[in-house]
Symmetry: C2
Subunit: 369 residues, 2 copies
């Protein structure tokens, strides 16, 4: 292998594959990346055996071939090189790096030992979606997911194509987020239904490596998930299991309906939470007469505090306790001045939504005494 | 105590005292700050028993008094308050915090239990220096100091007024930095000599809390050091001991004199150091014929690399090994395009300086095989 690349192109590609590089001491080659030039096209891959990323590198190939090198030192060298233009050459299992004033030789490993990255070859069925929409779907819900060995089925993000719409859903059983994208935001040619759970970590990586403007094709064969753009392939295994049937917990009998400034509520939670170090508990006292929410918390060794926020309230007054972080996570995914909060008393699930919009719902359980 | 302050003023003062707040579990009150209003003047103090900082808070005092509150929660609340104007009131051992929409009560402790901060009352002898000059002196040398229990005398910064000049010096015995400020940069009315060692940590705090434009008066009674401006007092104990007599190691017989681009050398060190993980060793190969320095490093498990830098060289060619971090620390304190490096072969101390300027010298020992 012999190639010439621009520093920034190589840096960007290394950055894309960086988080999947393994720390596995039993299989040291997982700490390496595979650099490959095939038919003049150059790409870099990393894998942790569950997930793999392959990223194209714009550059000139003089000679095809492949080599695998330790990510850490290679990345360190490339990031600190001053020159724009870098020559890379494989010599036995070493990689030679050359610029006008600099030369390095890094010990690599035999590329034959690099794990084979499973790809989905059957490419007739896929759905296609703009990068920014895919990322919006995942980002809107992923903070609600939790990696759980006991309950693998909630350790990821559900992607569910249901007729015209695509739903992204995640939960940790204390809160649940659901984001719906409508038919105009993607194209689907899956004939059978499409309902998969991607593990949380590759879902986060997908958000990191996909550009907003790219078109992404999504493939799945029932055990693997593959997202492909012109420059990038991310492959990961799917979570095997049934996502909980959450439709039953979506609040239907709202007894208190609140409209409140999103930024003021977020500020109040951050401030009042200073006194809720133990279980993150804050109490929302809904006072319809005063048109106020009082956000209150206390800690026996620190003290107590309260914050009054004006709000539009219809329905009954109630005191309800929440984990403030869960409420705050839900508010972060709303991009409007005000939010709607619907309560069903102090023990049943509550819902946070955009005003006049059902594309995002965030359900959160109160803390019961 | 009853005072009204602006949020940002209070925040700035809390920030100034923040790093001296103790983590001492035997004496929990050290986790507190003392807030005091006396004759209408408000200030905040913290101490770790070795060093103390007292910082003025601009504000309005309604009632004199004092209280001590846990820094962590108080700082958290003040930083997250949205309002500009904050009312603070001591009620027994609690502090009440009030804004238009927010109220908090934090449990404090009896201010009588807060340690007394030793001040130097004898104020006839002092030297006075602009904040930026004092900071320049300390910052130029402090990276060479090292906190050592075995050798307390090198665990700080020497400040030595010698006739017309003031010298700041620090060493860890592998390298030494000396910065000289000349008579025009300070005024001195100490009649006897002035030669003290301030511990590293309060020296670093001094840099953090003093503004460039302030005038600083420095007092010392032989066991304490006090720096005072209109807004700030920092008091710390001095290090008891004799700073090593370093004049003998200042290189006098330079056998190789080099002038080289500072930024290029720093870049080369950062890059080449990728392969020097064990003892930070890089080799400088000085090649007078080629007018080049080759910076080289190798690691048996990673590989090797070299960087060629053009340089003006007079004197003999030599290969000399350095800890690259030590060289890099010295280069950071030079603010010019090129630097001078003077070598005395491969085992005797080398010196790094500004070209045509002796106000800063940085001496570094080669690594001997």
């Amino acid at each position: 292998m012999k190639i010439t690349v621009l520093k920034n192109n190589l840096k960007n590609s290394l950055d894309a594959v960086s988080r999947i590089v393994g720390e596995n001491n039993n299989l040291p080659i997982l700490k390496n990346v595979l650099i490959k030039s095939e038919s003049g096209k150059i790409n870099i891959s990393s894998t942790d055996l569950e997930t793999a990323i392959i990223k194209k590198v714009a550059g000139k190939s003089v000679e095809d071939g492949q080599i695998t090198v330790p990510f850490s030192i290679f990345n360190n060298v490339i990031n600190n090189i001053q020159s724009e233009r870098i020559d890379l050459e494989a010599k036995k299992n070493n990689i030679l790096i050359k610029t006008d004033s600099y030369e390095a030789k890094i010990q690599g490993m035999d590329s034959e030992d690099f794990p084979i990255i499973p790809k989905i070859e059957e490419k007739n069925e896929f759905f296609e979606i703009k990068g920014e929409n895919l990322k919006d779907g995942i980002v809107s819900v992923m903070s609600a997911a939790q990696i759980s060995e006991l309950r693998p089925e909630i350790s990821g993000v559900l992607i569910d194509i249901d007729g015209e719409n695509i739903k992204f859903v995640a939960t940790d059983s204390f809160r649940l987020a659901e984001k719906t994208l409508y038919g105009s935001e993607f194209t689907n040619n899956f004939e059978r239904g499409f309902k998969i759970i991607i593990p949380l970590r590759p879902a986060q990586e997908l958000v990191r490596v996909i550009d907003d403007k790219e078109n992404v094709r999504i493939y799945s064969d029932g055990s693997q998930f593959m997202a492909e753009t012109d420059d990038t392939i991310l492959v990961t295994r799917l979570i095997d299991g049934n996502f909980p049937d959450y439709t039953q917990i979506i609040p239907k009998n709202i007894s208190t309906d609140i409209e409140v400034s999103r930024s003021e509520l977020m500020g109040a939670l951050k401030l009042v939470s200073s006194f809720s170090s133990k279980n993150n508990e804050v109490i929302f006292k809904i006072i319809p007469d005063k048109k106020m929410i009082e956000v209150y918390s206390a800690d026996s060794s620190l003290g107590e505090n309260k914050y009054l926020i004006p709000a539009k309230i219809s329905g009954e007054g109630v005191n309800v306790s929440f984990n403030w972080r869960f409420v705050s996570d839900g508010l972060k995914n709303i991009d409007s001045e005000t939010v709607n909060i619907g309560l069903q008393g102090d023990v049943k699930p509550s819902v946070i939504k955009w005003p006049q919009d059902n594309s995002y719902i965030y359900i959160v359980m109160p803390i019961k005494d």
